[in-house]
Symmetry: C2
Subunit: 336 residues, 2 copies
């Protein structure tokens, strides 16, 4: 018996076009990131580097870079601003890991487990300050306004999520408001500042904001779906983390809303923290599958991704716009 090897041609959207579009500029951004995470205090680059050098998709700075291509900006100002966006993102990841007591991040041991919570909090603060130093060096008050406002919104979203945690009655609207703040605000700001450096019209600035914001919501919805999706490859995230932390993400919200009284009792116990075994998680996945909540979450994600793409329609067609559209399509195809 011989094994027949079938080479499938890759189908569906990919990140390749946006990666290609931004590759050269991203090298400049990475150089700034590596340079500006340095400090005389060795623990700072060690801890920051664990997360920053450890990869990550650089999604947010990529939006700034792609947006700059889209609006035909030819300078280099967006490099520092894109690095600033990544620093803000990294700072929030470090603080998130402390807040959630995370054990892994991007498939590696989380920084807080290696370096402890105190250093992780403080290095987050350092990166956040560095982000503002970079923005000040650029000197655009508009970019500073957009990113400082986004930072305040992110923090509020994180606190709101904390408040909603372990509350089984969280509504879809509340959940959307939380992810709009904690995730989509930085996507929107990252995208929008491209219009600032490009000195675009207000309509173009708002279009880039809308692209980033809707993409961010789509991205977070898919992330939350993946945490309960049975057929999914490991995305570098602990499967079941959201479940054990009692986070009310959309798959759970929908399954709870659609469930029987008995199922609801299970969710009440689980979200309250009394169902943390593997078999409990397996049962949660089974209920979510029964009520098609992963599909429903992905369906909503596709709607937001579509809105993101439509927002770009005021820009001329071309490789930048096509790459950004495909990136949005890719975002919602993840984990299939």
């Amino acid at each position: 018996m011989s094994a027949e090897v079938v080479t499938l041609s890759r189908k569906g959207p990919t990140l390749s076009p946006i990666l290609d579009l931004t590759a050269t500029a991203m090298e400049a951004v990475n150089a700034i990131i590596l340079d500006r995470m340095q400090s005389e205090i060795p623990l700072i680059p060690a801890l920051a580097g664990h997360l920053i050098a450890g990869g990550g998709k650089r999604m947010r700075p990529m939006l700034t870079l792609a947006g700059a291509e889209l609006v035909g900006y030819r300078g280099a100002r967006h490099h520092k601003l894109a690095a600033s966006v990544e620093f803000i993102h990294t700072a929030t990841l470090l603080h998130d890991d402390v807040v959630d007591g995370s054990e892994t991040r991007r498939g590696k041991e989380a920084a807080n487990l290696i370096y402890g919570n105190p250093a992780t909090v403080l290095v987050g603060d350092f990166l956040f300050s560095r982000a503002f130093e970079l923005m000040v060096e650029d000197g655009s008050l508009d970019a500073l306004r957009i990113l400082s406002s986004a930072s305040a919104v992110i923090a509020q979203g994180e606190v709101d999520q904390l408040t909603a945690q372990r509350k089984v009655e969280t509504s879809e609207e509340r959940y959307l408001s939380i992810i709009d703040a904690k995730t989509a605000a930085l996507f929107a700001a990252a995208s929008r500042i491209a219009a600032v450096v490009g000195e675009c019209s207000e309509a173009e600035e708002l279009a880039l904001d809308a692209y980033g914001r809707n993409l961010g919501i789509a991205f977070q919805l898919v992330d939350d779906a993946i945490d309960y999706d049975t057929g999914t490859a490991d995305m570098g995230k602990d499967r079941g983390d959201d479940f054990r932390e009692g986070k009310m993400t959309l798959p759970v919200i929908l399954t709870y809303a659609r469930g029987s009284d008995e199922e609801r009792r299970f969710w009440q116990e689980a979200v309250a923290g009394f169902r943390v075994e593997d078999e409990d998680f397996d049962h949660a996945v089974e209920l979510i599958r029964r009520h098609d909540a992963v599909s429903a979450t992905r369906e909503r994600a596709r709607m937001y991704a579509q809105r993101a793409c439509d927002a770009l329609s005021i820009f001329p067609d071309g490789p930048a716009r096509a790459a950004m559209v495909e990136a949005a399509q890719f975002a919602v195809s993840r984990g299939y």
Copy 2:
């Protein structure tokens, strides 16, 4: 038998002149602080208010306000900037309490004990973001540069202090470098931005920076002395906290340097965390007294306070300068 009441005339320097000088402006600053710590997420004003409304001396914004008087600035721009300084300070206090596992702050239960570490970290982030929003509203890139740079320096100082913790061989130079970053940088920035709004000469800007920086060092030295000073009234700080946390502050550094081999063994064990009983702290206080380390620390504080006052000599004599000089004298007289 009748009690004879003797009314003592108050002697020594006080904060009254600087409090009077800045009282009206501080009302405006407090209004901004109360307004801008609000959020739709109720936990944010609750937690922030616990610390902010709970008092505190508003030392740092007071420096901005006094500096503005000193340079004859007549506008209102410094109100937002002073509020921004207080938000940065509050954010660092909240994060410090998480980092140190503090149980009390300003004589009250620490926010992290009431609201938990996650919310405390995130509300710190929120206040930090708000600080930058306020600066952006003011619109001075110079002020933004000074305060973003100070914020990065503070975070580095905090990490450096964490690195030095439980290291008995920490030198006086290392210690000074740490407090220069974690404390004096914000005093310097708070003071310096008064020169920015006043559109002063570079010499005046640097003089205000030097005043704030030296005052900040003096202030921190006295704080560290008070933690081991036997005759001191409760300053709203847990006596012996530094000792139990293995913090290498100047009284300990000097006592260790001046001590016998046997005494050094005690400090090695204590700083390593094996001497945490009340009797150990009492012994530490006794050793520090034996080697005059509190007096020596206070002596150094007086030198820095003097430098702070001398830095003001380029400004004309008058009530503002006199109030700032007396504030520096007061800072080093605390706890006597």
